[in-house]
Symmetry: C2
């Protein structure tokens, strides 16, 4: 498999962690980011991925584009170790925690949105900082609220093995720290982040960015 | 089941269509939107849904919060008629089309983001229009690019029965039209939207907003 990836993309980091965790070998292909748009504007790449975003995963002649769809696919085709274990209710909880981040946090703070705020709406760095901090705090607060004190939360967001929820948690925490957010305000998230970073799949996923 | 819902939420509309399509009875509970934040700030509701967003689905003592997680759960527990049919590759395509909208379009143009642009960053209505139009056009262009001319596309985004991809397509098209976007620029999307709107599950889902 070949993975188009970029260091600033949390979504690409989710796929790298999952490929590592499931021990699926892949060749990373690092893309350049267009400063004006925060997207990958190479015409050949746009034909593969019309949004100009990463990740894109190539498996033979098949092209897979959206991170959560890729993770669900990898889980179906390479079920061991699972990232969506348990009953339908367990999976609903795991997916719901993941989506706080993937739907309501990451897409608001990524490179293309920051480029648009700066270049098209003229928002200065102070305004962009306020913007990023707002959505990161709302996302992490909601996630903390849902996992803290919940009996299903253990070493990881859902039980004693990492799941899709942890795979989505780690990149946003790294990103929040990089943007100057004090993640110690979210003690359960911080504890789970540290547990994840003891696993090579998560560490290597970060280093390979 | 009880569904907390609001007319301005595409995510709540996805769940209404799915409940209708799978013929699962539910009681809608309509929430008020706080103008300053574009969120639902009732403290009791925030305890159910800490992001202050809809939908929230209540089934007995269980609380389900994120639209895609809810749709995946309903598909597992009420598999007929399916919204994620076929092979793992089919499901990957359907989920990937859905996520262009659910991850990269809807969360950028919803009420809370528009409230923040207006009230916290001082963006005027012209700037907000440019913002909304940009993300809607990028999303619909990418979706059109991926479905137009693809042999898997038929009456609907994937085959001859509606799927998760169509459930995510219809609300964003209705929303784009409302925001003044000319959706005729996306002929495959427009054709599929019209096919969906011939089905009562989609029409009733809109009327019940």
């Amino acid at each position: 498999m070949k993975l188009y990836t970029h260091s600033s993309s949390n979504a690409a980091y989710h796929v790298r962690i999952t490929l590592n965790y499931k021990q699926i070998p892949y060749d990373p292909e690092y893309l350049l980011l267009d400063e004006a748009t925060g997207e990958h504007r190479n015409p050949e790449y746009l034909d593969l991925n019309p949004l100009g975003m990463v990740p894109t995963l190539i498996d033979g002649r098949r092209v897979y584009r959206q991170s959560l769809a890729i993770l669900e696919y990898l889980e179906e085709v390479y079920p061991h170790p699972p990232i969506l274990p348990g009953s339908s209710r367990d999976r609903e909880r795991i997916r719901s925690l993941a989506q706080i981040i993937v739907t309501h946090t990451d897409p608001l703070t990524n490179a293309r949105v920051n480029a648009f705020l700066r270049n098209d709406l003229g928002i200065d760095s102070k305004g962009r900082k306020k913007w990023n901090r707002t959505w990161i705090r709302k996302g992490l607060s909601a996630l903390e609220h849902q996992i803290a004190g919940n009996p299903a939360t253990s070493t990881y967001c859902h039980g004693d093995l990492p799941t899709l929820a942890d795979i989505c948690l780690v990149p946003v925490v790294a990103c929040a720290t990089e943007k100057g957010e004090d993640v110690e305000r979210y003690p359960t998230i911080t504890r789970i982040y540290q547990s994840c970073m003891m696993l090579s799949a998560f560490r290597t996923g970060m280093e390979d960015g």
